[in-house]
Every structure is written in C-alpha cells, then in structure tokens.
C-alpha cells in the first residue's frame, strides 16, 4: 500500500482545490429564494435574501419563463453547492486530524 501520509496529503490538496472551486461557483450563483407575490389578483416575482440580519425582498420585474427557470435553477444549484462546501470543510477537518496523528506516530 502507498504510504498513508502520501494518500492523505493528496486528498488534502484535492479537498482544498474543491473548497476553492465551490466558493467561486457559489459566488456566481443567485442567493435567496424565489417567490411569487399575489397582489390584486396578479402574480409578481420576488427574490428574498438575507442582508446581514434583515430579509430583503427584490421585485424582479417582468421575467420570462426561461429567466424564471434560470433563476430558480441557479438558486437550487447554490443551495446544493453550499451543502457540498460544508461537507468538504468537514472532510478537511477530519483529514487534518488524521495527518497530524500520522505525523506524530512516525
């Protein structure tokens, strides 16, 4: 078997790369959640997101169906990536512990 430290360091490099990529991808994706507000019998598209402690709502104007889908997909992708980033960071934490442990043993 390959040296354990070598495998762990390789995985550390990969996870650091992944963390960087997820952060960059998340930055380019829309945040918040998309809702339709019904006002006087008409539906208006709004984006709700957090700004510090406040929840802000932004009217999106006359969005085409395609743009609505793009926005909705982008928000979903962001949430997915945020979950993955959390996992990557947990894996990094575990891995660093393992590397420290192996180094002490050697």
């Amino acid at each position: 078997m390959r040296s354990m430290i070598g495998i762990l360091k390789e995985e550390l490099a990969r996870l650091l790369d992944s963390e960087k990529s997820y952060k960059k991808a998340i930055k380019d994706l829309p945040k918040g959640s998309f809702h339709q507000k019904r006002i006087n019998g008409h539906d208006y598209p709004y984006l709700f997101y957090r700004r510090g402690k406040k929840i802000v709502s932004k009217y999106l104007g006359n969005l085409s169906e395609a743009d609505r889908k793009k926005l909705s997909d982008g928000i979903e992708q962001r949430k997915k990536y945020e979950g993955m980033l959390k996992e990557v960071r947990e894996n990094l934490k575990q891995l660093r512990k393992m590397i420290r442990g192996k180094k002490r043993a050697v």
Binding site: R2, D17, S18, M84
Partner: protein, 229 residues
C-alpha cells in the same frame, strides 16, 4: 469518506448517464473497475483492494458521439463542481467524496492541451495505451445499469505498462501493486489466463517488449506466458 458513500455517489452518476442515454459512450477505467469486478466474479475474494477518489471515464469515440447531452450539468446536478486547471486547460469535477475526469485515447504524436467533446459539454485528457482498455470491453450489470469496463486481463496488463511511465514513485508503486494483485487473482482462473494470452497475442511488438521487461522484474508468470504464446 467511507468507500460505500463514494460508491453511492458513483452509482448516482452512472444512473444519471444511463437515464440521459449516454452511459454507453463511456468506459469506466481506473481503479474503480476493481470494485465492479466484484459483481462479475462468483468468488471475488482475492481481488486487490484499492484506495482512490478518482473516477476516470474513457470516451473511446469522442468524435462520433451524436447525442447531445450536457454531462457537465448532470455532474453539477449531483453536486460536483467543475475545477479548471489553468496550466493544462483540463476541467475535472470535484465532489466531497470523489473526483471525475474524462480521458480519450491519444492519437498520433499526442497533444498537451485537452480535447473538447462538444456534444457532451466536457473536455478530456488524451493518454497513451488506452486502446488496450478499449479493445477488451466487458459489460457488468449493476441493478438497472450496464457499465462498460475493460476486461480484468487488459486492465492488469495496462496497469503494469503505465507503472513504468509514472513520475511519482508512490503512484508507480500503487500501479504495480494493483497489477500484480490482479494478475495473482486471474492466474488462479484458467478462463482468465486464456484472456491474458489473447491480450498478449494482439498487442503491438513494442508494447510486448515493455511487458516482457516489466513482468521479468515484477511478475515472472506473465513473462513466461508472453514468451510461450
């Protein structure tokens, strides 16, 4: 990072490719083949263990892929993030559990920059000796999906050959261990020895020379087989 979790992520990707109608455009190569060989052999005890987070997909006929499927988006839908290597231009797909990379067989003198496979919205690195894997497909059924992998004999011989080209000593050692471990397993099965002979009969002379030299150092039974075809 348990292997089962990684396997579940991999199976999800394979299901996505299958549902999109493109799984047949890919060969699963690399060490994950060893995991799928377990579903092929009645008694898989003795198959070498492996440890890898890399999933390598070979696209044997990149220029002939007619169906347009955004494979990059399929991977993103499973939580993979594209990671762009500035120096090589290659895009790999990272996930907390795995990393996916696409490969194509190297043609002619080879090229440093990756090959764009536009119909699948991915790019791929070209590597030598991949024909050795492509020419010996085996289909392994797992639940509703059928995965193309190289035959174990071709996989073992390929691993032996590429071990000599590794710059990294640890990876070289890993390739040799995998190759020798798998050859030990295959030599206990007469039908697989027949496949080893079939592969050795068909490979180019220059490759055979490499195999004789490497097997002489690391696995003499293969050298004997190659010399007495």
């Amino acid at each position: 990072m348990a292997k089962n979790e990684q396997f579940e992520v991999l199976v999800q990707i394979l299901r996505r490719f299958h549902n999109a109608g493109v799984l047949n455009e890919f060969f699963l190569i690399g060490s994950w083949c060893l995991y799928f060989y377990r579903f092929h052999f009645d008694q898989p005890q003795g198959l070498p263990a492996f440890r890898t987070l890399d999933v390598d997909f070979l696209v044997p006929n990149a220029k002939q892929v007619k169906k347009e499927v955004d494979v990059s988006q399929l991977l993103k839908d499973e939580g993979f993030v594209p990671t762009f290597n500035r120096s090589s231009g290659l895009i790999k797909y990272n996930h907390p559990e795995l990393q996916v990379e696409f490969l194509v067989p190297e043609l002619g003198k080879g090229r440093d920059e990756p090959v764009a496979i536009e119909s699948l919205h991915i790019n791929a690195q070209s590597l030598r000796y991949l024909n050795l894997l492509m020419d010996y497909p085996r289909i392994i059924a797992y639940e509703e999906i059928k995965i193309r992998v190289p035959e174990p004999a071709a996989f073992a011989i390929h691993k032996l050959m590429i071990s000599a080209r590794r710059g990294n000593q640890e990876k070289q050692k890993a390739d040799l261990e995998t190759s020798i471990g798998l050859l030990e397993f295959l030599y206990a099965r007469p039908e697989e020895v027949a496949r080893i002979k079939a592969v050795l009969r068909a490979i180019p002379k220059s490759w055979k020379k490499t195999i004789l030299s490497l097997s002489g150092k690391h696995f003499s039974r293969l050298k004997d087989t190659a010399e007495n075809l």
